[in-house]
């Protein structure tokens, strides 16, 4: 089951560039939360702070507190431990091209030391079913490579790969922006299904997408979080003038 995320006074830098400034918000468990805002507003940096991917860049720095459930991820855990509890799906599908479909899904489990074949088979099947890819690939699980699938299928494979380790949180950084409309709508349906089991944070450029899949929406601008509220309120009656300007298309 998913857990909530509590962010307080989060600041992040790339070199001297202060990309996130004093972010405070509570992301509810087992819901989808969308983060919107113009390019470069810090929303991607924000999700990368939740699984400590931000710090893989040698010039990046971060301060503040992020709690996932009870765990203070910057003080009580290592990045590796955090990333095993927080799955991530990237903008461009990035399956491992030299691995079969099966091995792609099992990759995270193998890192965790799983080797029981039957258990692996079960998890691979469940993850592919959860990501709505099972029916399309079940006949060539070990024959085809992850790179042989279409873009949309690759992205669902990446979702399956993230789900296989049974994370509490699933971060999605513009998961559909490189996909065609049909694949996009499949991913959105999937998010709808998955949020009953996982806490989902989705970064998106597409405001209709945010409106369709998320209960909560946060609007980022210039490294600050301008407004965080129910999606309905953000899109119909935002409190901040800048949010209103953005969602009505006056800038960004």
């Amino acid at each position: 089951m998913g857990v909530g995320i509590e962010v307080s006074n989060l600041n992040a830098w790339y070199g001297s560039n202060h990309t996130l400034q004093d972010i405070n918000l509570n992301i509810p468990a087992n819901h989808a939360t969308a983060l919107i805002g113009p390019s470069g507003c810090g929303k991607s940096t924000f999700v990368r702070c939740i699984n400590r991917m931000h710090e893989t860049n040698p010039i990046a720095r971060v301060s503040g507190t992020v709690r996932i459930g009870e765990l203070d991820i910057y003080h009580d855990a290592t990045p590796v431990e955090i990333r095993r509890r927080v799955g991530m799906v990237f903008q461009r599908p990035n399956p491992f091209p030299t691995m079969s479909i099966y091995d792609n899904v099992a990759a995270g489990l193998k890192l965790n030391g799983y080797s029981n074949r039957r258990a692996l088979d079960d998890v691979v099947e469940r993850s592919l079913k959860d990501s709505a890819l099972w029916d399309e690939v079940k006949d060539d699980l070990k024959k085809k490579s992850g790179a042989s699938l279409s873009g949309g299928q690759q992205q669902r494979l990446c979702i399956a790969r993230a789900l296989a380790v049974d994370p509490e949180v699933l971060l999605m950084d513009e998961p559909a922006s490189a996909l065609d409309p049909v694949s996009t709508s499949k991913i959105e349906d999937l998010i709808f299904e998955l949020k009953t089991q996982y806490t989902i944070v989705i970064v998106t450029h597409n405001m209709q997408q945010a409106a369709r899949v998320a209960e909560k929406t946060g609007f980022f601008l210039n490294g600050r979080m301008v407004e965080f509220d129910s999606t309905h309120k953000i899109f119909t009656n935002p409190s901040d003038k800048r949010t209103e300007d953005y969602i009505t298309g006056r800038f960004g």
């Binding site: 590796v80 990333r83 990035n94 491992f96 691995m99 890192l111 993230a162 380790v165």
Partner: protein, 322 residues
């Protein structure tokens, strides 16, 4: 000068460039023809048996492979020596080269990356005879006094390290010096194919909770493996053809022994040693045929390696961590 003249000059220039390009092809054809023509005598005398036969000396009853005075010629000990010393070199150089490449692309602080890569490639610029001299005066004495006795004491039971050779020369010395010489090419090409692995692969592994080593294994080495094999084969190509340093330390005796500590010889070493003072036309022809075999072997190995590296790096611009 009128425009007409410049059109003529342009065409002349074009032909000149075509000629330059064709000359490379021409040189290769000339070399091959010459090697084939000059090895005819040996080819007619021994045929394919040249590559695997042996003779028994009527007086000493010992197996002889190469006896120019009595007209016995077999390429077997040279092929054996070339292969053994080259594979020994790979065995030593590959782990080290891949380690250097992993360190330089994945772990090294960015400021140090350039200078260290430059230094490791500088090894390739040292003339081969200098490596040979270093091996003779430094490496061989160390092997003779310290390493070889230890190897034969602890690994002698395998038969691969029987120490019947008091000189310190031999396959091990040749393998070590070859390893140093092919290290730069293997590590720089490995570095190239590793940098061609997109960063998204590293992120994919990290996001799954991979440690740094797991990320390198799963996200980088696995994707670069075909290119790394190409780099290794290219190193093999260098090792097969390397002459000077090997000639200086391999011992130059045309025999086949199981022990890696014994003296041996190689295809290029025998040509370098004997060509100038060949005792007969047949001797000269046999040496040329060894040269032809070496030429064909290295061409095939190099072509294979280039193909593999090309397959991996084509269309993938080098990407570094943003």
């Amino acid at each position: 000068m009128g425009r007409g003249n410049s059109a003529v000059a342009d065409r002349g220039f074009q032909w000149l460039m075509v000629l330059c390009a064709l000359s490379i092809f021409g040189i290769v054809v000339l070399i091959v023809t010459e090697l084939i023509l000059r090895s005819q005598l040996s080819w007619h005398a021994f045929g394919f048996k040249f590559f695997f036969s042996s003779f028994v000396d009527p007086d000493t009853k010992q197996t002889v492979y190469w006896d120019p005075v009595n007209g016995h010629f077999s390429a077997l000990p040279f092929i054996y020596g070339t292969l053994v010393s080259s594979f020994l070199a790979l065995l030593l150089a590959v782990p080290l080269a891949v380690g250097v490449a992993v360190f330089l692309t994945e772990m090294c602080p960015r400021g140090l990356r350039g200078p260290l890569a430059f230094l490791s490639e500088l090894l390739a610029a040292i003339p081969s005879v200098i490596y040979g001299l270093w091996a003779m005066y430094v490496l061989v004495p160390i092997l003779r006094e310290h390493i070889n006795p230890l190897l034969s004491q602890f690994l002698g039971w395998t038969g691969l390290f029987a120490n019947e050779n008091p000189t310190g020369l031999g396959f091990v010395a040749a393998g070590i010096i070859l390893a140093v010489m092919i290290l730069p090419i293997i590590s720089s090409l490995t570095r190239e194919v590793m940098s061609a692995v997109p960063n998204s692969q590293r992120e994919a592994a990290l996001a799954l909770g991979a440690t740094r080593w797991e990320m390198i294994r799963m996200g980088v080495l696995r994707n670069a493996r075909i290119g790394i094999v190409g780099a290794i084969i290219l190193g093999l190509g260098r090792a097969l053809g390397e002459t000077m340093a090997v000639t200086m330390v391999i011992g130059n005796s045309p025999e086949i022994h199981r022990s890696l500590l014994s003296n041996g010889t190689s295809m290029s070493a025998v040509i370098a040693n004997e060509y100038a003072e060949a005792v007969s036309d047949l001797h000269l022809s046999a040496l040329t045929e060894i040269g032809l075999a070496l030429f064909i072997l290295t061409i095939i190995v190099n072509a294979l390696a280039r193909l593999l590296v090309w397959v991996v790096t084509r269309g993938a611009p080098a990407q570094v961590l943003h």
